[in-house]
Symmetry: C2
Subunit: 212 residues, 2 copies
C-alpha cells in the first residue's frame, strides 16, 4: 500500500489528549475497543514478549471506584501543579491542567476506562535497560490504541495518577501480583473530530547531531 502521507501525518499530529471533549452521553460498543486493541497488539515488543494485558472497565461501579482513587491522587497533585504553571505564565500547560481537573471531576462518567498492563513487575532499583525494555514494550501499543481510536472518532488521554494508589487499584481489579498497570485511559467518542496540531517549539531546538 502507498500511504497518503498527508493523511497519516494528520493522524499522528492531531491525536491529542482528549478530556473535555469526551462525549459522556454516547455509549462505546465493546467491539470498537476490541478492534482498536487488535491494532494495538501489532506493535513490536522487546524480545517479542507480547506481555500486554488489557483491563477494560465499562461497569459503572468499577468506574466510580477507580475515579475515587484517581481523585485521591489528583486533587493534591493537580492543584499544586496548576499553581506552578500559573506562576510561570505557561498558558498551554494551564489549559492542560484545567482539562485534567475537569477529568478528575468527571472520570466516572466516561463510558470506558482502559488500564493497559504488562506482565512482569520490575524489581526495586531495576536498571535503565530493563525499565526501558519493559515500558517500551507497552507504550507503543497504548499509543497505537489511541491512534486507532482517533481514526474512528473516539478520543482518550493517557493518565498515570491512579498509580499513586496502584495496590488499591490492583485489589479492586483482582490483578495478580506479576501484572503491572501502566496507565488509565478514559475512552469515549469525541464531540466533533476537528482536532488541531499543538503549538510546539521547532524540533531543531531539541535535536542534537552526533553529540549533545
Amino acid at each position: 500500500m502507498q500511504f497518503d502521507i498527508a493523511m497519516t501525518d494528520e493522524l499522528l499530529a492531531t491525536t491529542r489528549a482528549v478530556r473535555k471533549r469526551l462525549d459522556l452521553d454516547r455509549a462505546v460498543p465493546r467491539d470498537v475497543i476490541l478492534e482498536c486493541l487488535e491494532l494495538a497488539v501489532q506493535a513490536p515488543t522487546g524480545s517479542n514478549t507480547q506481555g500486554w494485558r488489557w483491563l477494560v472497565i465499562d461497569d459503572a461501579a468499577q468506574r466510580a471506584a477507580l475515579a475515587t482513587l484517581y481523585r485521591k491522587a489528583a486533587s493534591i497533585y493537580l492543584n499544586q501543579a496548576n499553581d506552578a504553571a500559573q506562576a510561570r505564565g505557561d498558558r498551554q500547560t494551564e489549559r492542560v491542567y484545567d482539562s485534567a481537573m475537569w477529568l478528575m471531576d468527571n472520570l466516572e462518567k466516561v463510558p470506558v476506562h482502559l488500564i493497559p498492563c504488562i506482565e512482569g513487575r520490575p524489581p526495586a532499583n531495576a536498571p535503565a535497560a530493563m525499565l526501558a525494555g519493559l515500558y517500551g514494550s507497552i507504550f507503543p501499543a497504548v499509543w497505537s490504541f489511541q491512534l486507532a481510536l482517533r481514526a474512528r472518532g473516539l478520543g482518550s488521554a493517557l493518565t498515570t495518577l491512579h498509580l499513586v494508589h496502584e495496590q488499591e487499584a490492583a485489589a479492586l481489579l483482582g490483578l495478580p501480583d506479576n501484572i503491572l498497570q501502566v496507565a488509565l485511559l478514559p475512552v469515549a467518542y469525541t464531540r466533533g473530530t476537528d482536532f488541531k496540531r499543538a503549538a510546539r517549539p521547532p524540533v531543531s531546538n531539541i535535536t542534537h547531531w552526533n553529540r549533545w
Copy 2:
C-alpha cells in the same frame, strides 16, 4: 479530515521492527529525520512537560562506537535468549532473534541511529506512577516517529540493549547527567515496503472486562 480507516489501520498494523530489510546503501537526508521528529513531538506528554530530547547520529565513527557498545551487551544476551526460544520451539521469536543478531553484526552500517532521551532521571526506587509518567511521556513520541518513517518508506527498530552500558554511551555522546536515554533506533530506508501484519493470538485471550 475524514480518515481512511483502511489506510490508518494498515499503518498501525504493518509498522514492524525492521532490521534485515534496512537498506544500508541508501543515505537518509537529515530533513526526513527532522520531518518525522516534528510529528513525534505532537504526541502528548505527562503534565505537558515535553521533556524529549533527540540525539541523531549519522557520523560513521560515532555509529561504530555505539555499535561496539551495543555488541558488548547484545552478544551475551541474544545468544542465551535465542537458545531459550529454540528450546521452547517458538519460531516467531527465533526469527526475531535471528534478525536481532543480524542487527548486532551490522549496526554501524545503518545510516542513522536515533537515541530518544527524556529530561529528568528517576531516582532509585522510583514509584510506579513516576516511571509510567516518565516513560509514557517519551515512548508514544518514539512510536509516532517510527510510524512517520513507515509512511515515508523508511524503517526502524526500537532497541534497548546499549543501555546496559548507558554511562559509556552518555560519555560518548556528551550527555548531561539529567538526560535519560531510553532507546537506540537504527533508521534507514527499507528494501521494499510490503510489510505484513504479524500473527498474534486473539486479543480476547488477553483482555479482561471489569475484573481480571
